[in-house]
């Protein structure tokens, strides 16, 4: 059962018709087969037109789409011999951050990703991808592991933000994020970060300071959610559409601002329509990025990573 977004309604209708026609015929009717073919062409054209000019707010919806490939799916597809690792060794295990060690296209790597969960049970278990301090401290632990064994670190960012709760604050949510940023900027191993869905504020940057920052075509990355921004600056969460425009949170704008290094194209109609193809494309992009930095010396990597972030903010958008 496919979930359609509001602006995908015309596509949904056409695909409904195709389904109906297929149901009517038992495959032998040439007229129906022709009609299905014609409708399918129409669907493709419609998708191409719609997805070529998605508004920022539409991208927000695509980025949050429930059927979009999540970290666990990406890891199970791209990482062989994956061994999940758990716990921050201080307080607990936070399932909002998944991590472990495995083999990516032949090389051992450490993986850290934010998992939103794909069904109701999973979303509850992973707390909708909103980590507590334990999640960031676990991430930091895994960063240290990568550094110790000279393994590249791959991070996958997909979170609405760090969890806002009493326990999270008491146990130092801000400190946990700050130390995570501190640690990733110190690493002497290649760090490739991919924004795969929602890059939500401080909760995202905690694991997004790498040598190469990739972003899926329809992912978003922002200092605050459009809803949060609208409720503060417009005094109404209803104005989220305008806030999404103003925040410049699309991959295209972030590339212009020099905040990301590459945009990973998504299959026609978004990653949620063809998760397998989307994941394969992401894998190729990560491999290419890794290839660019793999042979660099650790201290060079670290110095260049710092320079990269220090250079940000010199140019704006016109």
């Amino acid at each position: 059962m496919r979930t359609f977004l509001d602006f995908e309604k015309p596509v949904a209708e056409l695909e409904g018709k195709i389904e109906e026609l297929r149901h009517l015929s038992d495959g032998g009717d040439i007229n129906i087969a022709e009609e299905v073919g014609r409708l399918q062409t129409k669907v493709d054209r419609l998708l191409r037109q719609t997805y070529a000019k998605l508004s920022p707010w539409q991208k927000v919806q695509v980025a949050r789409h429930a059927d979009r490939p999540h970290v666990q799916q990406i890891v199970s597809t791209l990482i062989e011999d994956f061994v999940p690792l758990s716990g921050d060794r201080l307080y607990g295990e936070d399932a909002a951050v998944v991590g472990g060690i495995g083999r990516f296209r032949g090389y051992s790597v450490v993986v850290v990703g934010q998992e939103k969960g794909s069904d109701t049970e999973g979303r509850v278990r992973h707390n909708f991808g909103m980590a507590h301090p334990e999640g960031y401290r676990k991430a930091r632990r895994l960063m240290a592991l990568a550094d110790q064994f000279g393994l590249p670190l791959l991070t996958f960012v997909d979170t609405p933000g760090a969890y806002p709760g009493i326990g999270a604050e008491e146990r130092g949510q801000a400190e946990a994020i700050a130390r995570c940023i501190d640690a990733s900027l110190q690493l002497r191993v290649p760090v490739i970060c991919s924004i795969i869905g929602e890059g939500g504020s401080g909760g995202a940057i905690a694991v997004a300071t790498g040598d190469r920052i990739l972003m899926m075509e329809h992912a978003i990355y922002s200092v605050i959610s459009p809803e949060g921004c609208a409720s503060i600056l417009w005094r109404s969460a209803e104005r989220a559409t305008e806030a999404a425009d103003a925040l410049r949170l699309t991959a295209e704008d972030l590339a212009k601002l020099g905040v990301i290094d590459g945009i990973v194209p998504e299959p026609l109609g978004g990653a949620h329509r063809e998760p397998a193809a989307a994941i394969a494309g992401l894998g190729d992009a990560v491999e290419a990025a890794l290839h660019e930095v793999r042979s660099l010396d650790g201290s060079v990597l670290r110095a260049r990573r710092r320079e990269k972030f220090l250079a940000m903010g010199k140019t704006g958008l016109s």
């Binding site: 806002p164 709760g165 400190e175 700050a178 600056l233 925040l247």
Partner: protein
């Protein structure tokens, strides 16, 4: 002292506070609601003399209260791109910024000064909550990096006093990028072997807390200061529970192990001077001779009680110790 009157009134204007009496000479304590005469309030470091509430302090007053004789030099902050996203909400960001700047287009939320504290050179970066809620955008990030640079160049400790609602939304992703950028500043100070001390002032929240503000080698906080990551409204909307008493206050953070100590504003300068002295001058000013070693045969260390060993560093680190006896 001219800065008293010069800074009290612009701050009120910037915050849009309507004075309860004409001419701004009286300020109402936000805690006990007593009326405080501005001159007295400034003389008391903006601490209410009825209830001890620590009012927010303009950055220039902060620098003046920390440096010896209130004397310091500010540095000209790097020129940065204004309004990089051409952001507009109900108003243009460029207009908001222009109004906040009062004609000084380098002005932003962070003021950086250097001078001496107890005779030790020091660099202080202080946030002005009155400037757009102390929010951190490119300019504030650059200011902190400049402060870190200056500390390294001058071989001086860096003290940062945040007072900020967090990232400046109007600069979008570039304000988020100030989190790693300011952390790099902290790393530069750390690698130079210099102390980095944070004084968490009211309020310190959001992306400011989750970056440089929580990385102090030593973290002090002012009494009653709100320090946290998420705002209380967001937390309440998420968990739909009553928040505990004193939640996110400096004292609460201290109880939860998140800050080293809560320091009254009147004691702050002396506390910082002690810390700088201890961290920057770890060796005694004069030679310390161990009494116990002088009274015994050199090298004999058998059955002494542990407390007798406490004192000057023994052995090679204490060149005068044993030879003095033998000479």
């Amino acid at each position: 002292m001219s800065w008293l009157t010069n800074f009290v009134r612009p701050k009120l204007r910037a915050l849009g506070i309507k004075p309860d009496v004409p001419d701004n000479l009286w300020i109402k304590c936000p805690n006990c609601e007593q009326m405080l005469f501005h001159r007295e309030l400034a003389a008391n470091l903006h601490v209410c003399h009825y209830c001890d509430h620590h009012l927010r302090l303009p950055a220039a007053d902060r620098l003046a209260m920390l440096f010896d004789e209130g004397a310091f030099q500010t540095i000209e902050l790097p020129e940065t791109i204004a309004d990089p996203l051409r952001f507009r909400d109900r108003r243009r960001y460029s207009e908001r910024l222009r109004d906040a700047r009062h004609g000084d287009d380098r002005r932003d939320a962070v003021l950086v000064g250097h001078g001496t504290m107890g005779g030790h050179p020091a660099v202080v970066a202080a946030f002005d909550f009155g400037f757009m809620g102390g929010s951190m955008g490119v300019a504030a990030g650059e200011s902190l990096l400049a402060a870190a640079n200056l500390a390294v160049l001058q071989d001086a400790p860096l003290i940062v006093v945040p007072a900020s609602g967090g990232a400046r939304m109007q600069e979008g992703i570039l304000s988020l990028m100030q989190m790693p950028r300011t952390v790099i500043g902290v790393q530069q100070v750390r690698e130079a072997g210099l102390p980095y001390i944070v004084v968490l002032a009211d309020p310190t929240t959001g992306g400011v807390t989750a970056s440089f503000a929580m990385l102090g080698d030593i973290a002090l906080a002012e009494p009653g200061a709100i320090v946290g990551f998420a705002g209380t409204r967001v937390i309440q909307e998420t968990i739909r529970e009553k928040l505990p008493a004193g939640f996110q206050r400096a004292e609460y953070l201290h109880d939860h192990g998140m800050v080293d100590m809560v320091v009254h504003r009147r004691a702050l300068r002396d506390r910082l001077i002690s810390l700088i002295g201890l961290l920057r001058h770890p060796r005694p000013k004069a030679e310390v001779v161990s009494l116990e070693r002088r009274g015994e045969g050199a090298g004999k260390t058998s059955d002494k009680a542990p407390q007798e060993k406490v004192g000057a560093a023994p052995g090679p680190a204490d060149p005068k110790g044993s030879p003095a006896k033998g000479a």
